[in-house]
């Protein structure tokens, strides 16, 4: 029974996607889009830990397991897919490419769930690839110019990521002398001869998906171009997949890797600050949220870096990380849906209220989910990492500032996508469901995750917010200039696009065409006259050959 539920969690979206292929069944199947996430949601609750599902024949011996980490990520992903699915149903009802969108939505969902549950490397890679490539279609859905550009950048990076990941996984599996089991691979990495190379490849491969600093520039482009439900899922479930990859493969808590750890820590913190600063210079609400995601993911990456550096921190920090990821995924998803609601139905008072609450929760205001996670983090960090605590606080204030800026931009954008007909209830359901799970939900999940609830140290929560107020006022008068969205990519992308437009095609140095036209001069008439001399020469040669021998 348990195996069946697990299989349903992965396969139901896939089966639905295949069924969509048939023209006649489409009208009846499309409404089922959000409900295909239900089996995953149920399996989080019903399936006991460490239960395995074995498919020996498939691919290279496929097996699935639901462990503690997998369950949490499955929870947040399933929630996100379900609520965004509801939102998508109503938002895209009269969209011409609705079928295509739902087809790839389901494939991405199945990839996401499979990835979380996979217990062998090949299976993990299979579902990871499925998710990455099908999400490209979601980004590219509106087929506007910015969508094509974002899609192109995303695809290029995904393909690069796939290549790096393949090499990394091969090296990891090779080190574990061919064993496919994830746990064995993880431990094998500790003493593998190519540890440095494998780590670099895995960090880069998953870093692209998790939006690590140098490889992050696809994220803002994708989030702004994608339709609202897609960006909600993107920021929520897919960014976390990158994180999940690190948690699965990196030997956290088993071996000290100071080099990689410090690098990741530095990049994470840089990402955190960069996200905040660059977010303030955006005029589009979804871009602001995207850069806030870059910042938060940077934070999480730095924590992972910390653990890599100091392995003994792994035990205390794991639950905090999970809580933080859960909180960020749900809140960011809710914020994206809020943007969707605001743009379609304007900012009525309840919508505004929820938006402010979500923003405060993200900024870590007291009595919000965010505060809970922040306090848990502070308590988990050891004493001597004082500077880290301060920097986290600074990031928090930055986030607060960013959220303030977001609210201002959101208000300016209310009602720009107002649709003739009144949005149907499903959208409201989706939005409210996600907001509810984001705000009070985290409070419910906390005890289940943390050993004991930390006390609410008010002052340490408040001073960052207070610090944000004067900065906000300052910004009110001298707003930052408008920087292009997708900073690094935008710069080099224009060059590439100009060249493509001018009809340039990839040209290798041409080898000279070797069509030799070797025409011999015409044959002249018979050389009879030469026979006379030939006779003498050959006769002498024959005679000498005998006598000389």
């Amino acid at each position: 029974m348990i195996q069946l539920l697990l299989a349903a969690a992965i396969l139901s979206p896939l089966i639905l996607a295949l069924a969509l292929g048939v023209q006649r069944w489409r009208p009846r199947l499309l409404p089922l889009l959000p409900w295909s996430a239900l089996p995953a949601l149920l399996s989080v609750v019903l399936v006991p830990l460490e239960s395995r599902l074995e498919w020996p024949g498939v691919l290279l011996g496929q097996s699935f397991v639901l462990d503690e980490m997998g369950r949490l990520f499955l929870l947040l992903s399933a929630l996100l897919w379900f609520t965004s699915g509801l939102f998508a149903r109503s938002a895209l009802r009269d969209d011409p490419h609705q079928t295509r969108f739902s087809l790839f939505w389901l494939l991405a969902m199945s990839g996401n769930f499979g990835l979380l549950l996979a217990a062998d490397t090949a299976g993990f890679y299979l579902f990871f690839t499925l998710m990455s490539f099908s999400s490209w279609v979601l980004i590219f859905h509106s087929q506007s110019d910015s969508a094509r550009q974002a899609g192109g950048v995303y695809l290029a990076l995904v393909v690069l990521g796939e290549g790096l990941l393949l090499a990394g996984l091969l090296l990891a599996v090779g080190a574990a002398d061919g064993a496919q089991e994830l746990t064995l691979v993880r431990s094998g990495l500790a003493d593998s001869p190519w540890q440095g190379m494998t780590l670099a490849l895995l960090l880069a491969g998953f870093g692209i998906k998790a939006g690590l600093l140098p490889l992050h520039f696809w994220l803002p482009l994708a989030h702004t171009a994608a339709p609202v439900p897609a960006s909600a899922v993107l920021s929520g479930a897919m960014l976390k997949a990158g994180l999940f990859g690190w948690l699965r493969f990196l030997p956290l808590g088993e071996v000290a890797l100071p080099g990689a750890g410090q690098l990741l820590l530095g990049l994470g913190l840089a990402g955190a600050f960069f996200g905040v600063v660059y977010g303030l210079a955006q005029r589009d609400s979804k871009a602001v949220l995207a850069y806030s995601s870059v910042s938060h993911m940077g934070l999480l990456s730095s924590l992972i870096g910390l653990v890599l550096w100091q392995p003994w921190l792994w035990q205390p920090l794991l639950p905090v990380l999970l809580l933080y990821a859960l909180h960020h995924a749900l809140t960011k998803g809710a914020l994206f849906l809020t943007v969707g609601v605001a743009r379609r139905a304007g900012v009525a008072s309840p919508v505004l209220a929820v938006a402010v609450l979500l923003a405060l929760s993200l900024a870590g205001a007291p009595y919000t989910g965010g505060a809970l996670a922040k306090i848990a983090l502070k308590s988990a960090l050891p004493g001597q990492l004082e500077w880290l605590v301060w920097s986290l606080a600074l990031v928090a204030s930055g986030t607060a500032l960013l959220m303030w800026h977001f609210l201002r931009v959101l208000l300016r954008e209310k009602g720009i996508e107002r649709v003739a007909r009144e949005p149907r209830g499903l959208m409201w359901f989706g939005w409210s469901g996600l907001s509810l799970s984001a705000l009070p939900g985290v409070w419910l999940a906390a005890p289940w995750l943390l050993p004991q609830l930390p006390g609410m140290a008010l002052w340490s929560l408040l001073w960052p917010l207070l610090l944000a107020l004067p900065a906000a006022r300052l910004l009110w008068h001298y707003p930052l200039p408008r920087w292009p969205n997708g900073d690094l990519a935008a710069a080099c992308l224009n060059v590439v696009i100009l060249r493509l437009r001018s009809g340039w095609r990839f040209r290798l140095p041409q080898s000279p065409a070797v069509g030799w036209r070797w025409r011999l001069p015409p044959a002249r008439p018979g050389g009879g006259r030469a026979a006379g001399i030939a006779l003498a020469l050959i006769g002498v040669a024959l005679y000498l050959a005998i006598t000389m021998r």
Partner: protein, 304 residues
């Protein structure tokens, strides 16, 4: 002191060489043909010096006579034939060089030739079908060669016939003087008589089919030249059978002896001489008619 005979041989050899050089260096084709005929006669003389009467006879009749007639017959048409460009001076010097080398090689070989073991002739000759050694070799020991040689002759005739496009009878000779006609009337009976004698004599003395045939051929050609008789076409009527008689007879004898004794051309003890005579007769007829046919084939009506 050089004996007169040796002196004569020396002179003969040198004149042969000089004449050969003159033939090649002749200005006109006619001069070359004539000097070649003279060369043939001198050759006949040298065969006599080398104790080879049969060869002398054959050379005189065939080498000098018949070849000369054929050459002169073809002369007129040959002069008009277009010819490729003459080979350059270098080629001629090259040919001269190889000629010299060839002579040196041959001379060295001939001079250092070791004496060779004699052929077991003395015992075999009495058993042969003919006393005269040359005829014995020709028609008994190496009769197979002679058979094939007659085949070559017949083939030459057939080949010459195959070249003719239009089958037209040989045209009459141009008007010729009465003196020739009367001379021919005189010579004809004598030549037939001497041919018969030569044929008969072949069995035991130099002579035989070749010489007799050639004499008959000479008579025939004279007959043609002198236009005494309507020109006869050897391709019509019984003439081909007569022409082939020598060859067919030879083959018949070969197959007969094959059937009789098991090995071809192994004459039965008694009948050797008779068979040889029969073969000689056939050969004479074939040779005569062949040479006549070869001579007349070039002069058919279509030619001029």
């Amino acid at each position: 002191m050089i004996s007169p005979v040796l002196l004569f041989d020396l002179l003969l050899g040198l004149s042969l060489l000089w004449l050969a050089w003159r033939t090649l260096a002749a200005h006109t084709l006619f001069e070359a043909c004539v000097s070649f005929i003279v060369f043939g006669l001198l050759m006949a003389l040298s065969w006599v010096r080398l104790d080879a009467p049969d060869v002398a006879l054959a050379e005189a009749a065939v080498g000098a006579g018949l070849t000369g007639v054929l050459l002169l017959g073809a002369l007129e048409r040959a002069e008009r034939a277009r010819v490729e460009a003459a080979p350059g001076p270098w080629w001629r010097r090259g040919a001269g060089l190889s000629a010299l080398l060839l002579f040196l090689l041959l001379a060295a070989a001939l001079i250092t030739l070791p004496p060779r073991p004699p052929l077991p002739l003395q015992e075999a000759l009495p058993l042969a079908a003919a006393e005269h050694p040359v005829t014995a070799v020709l028609l008994d020991f190496r009769a197979w060669d002679t058979l094939l040689e007659s085949a070559v002759l017949v083939l030459a005739v057939v080949a010459a016939w195959s070249l003719e496009r239009s089958v037209s009878p040989p045209r009459p000779a141009p008007v010729c003087s009465e003196v020739l006609r009367s001379l021919v009337r005189l010579l004809l009976p004598f030549s037939i008589l001497s041919a018969g004698y030569l044929l008969w004599r072949g069995g035991h003395a130099p002579g035989g089919a070749f010489q007799a045939g050639t004499v008959l051929a000479a008579a025939g050609i004279l007959l043609l030249l002198s236009d005494l008789r309507r020109p006869f076409d050897l391709r019509r009527g019984y003439w081909p059978l007569a022409l082939l008689s020598g060859l067919l007879l030879f083959i018949a004898v070969a197959l007969g002896t094959l059937g009789y004794g098991g090995t071809a051309l192994d004459y039965p003890p008694g009948g050797g001489a008779a068979l040889v005579l029969l073969l000689e007769l056939g050969l004479t007829v074939t040779i005569a008619l062949a040479f006549i046919a070869l001579f007349s084939s070039g002069r058919s009506r279509g030619d001029e």
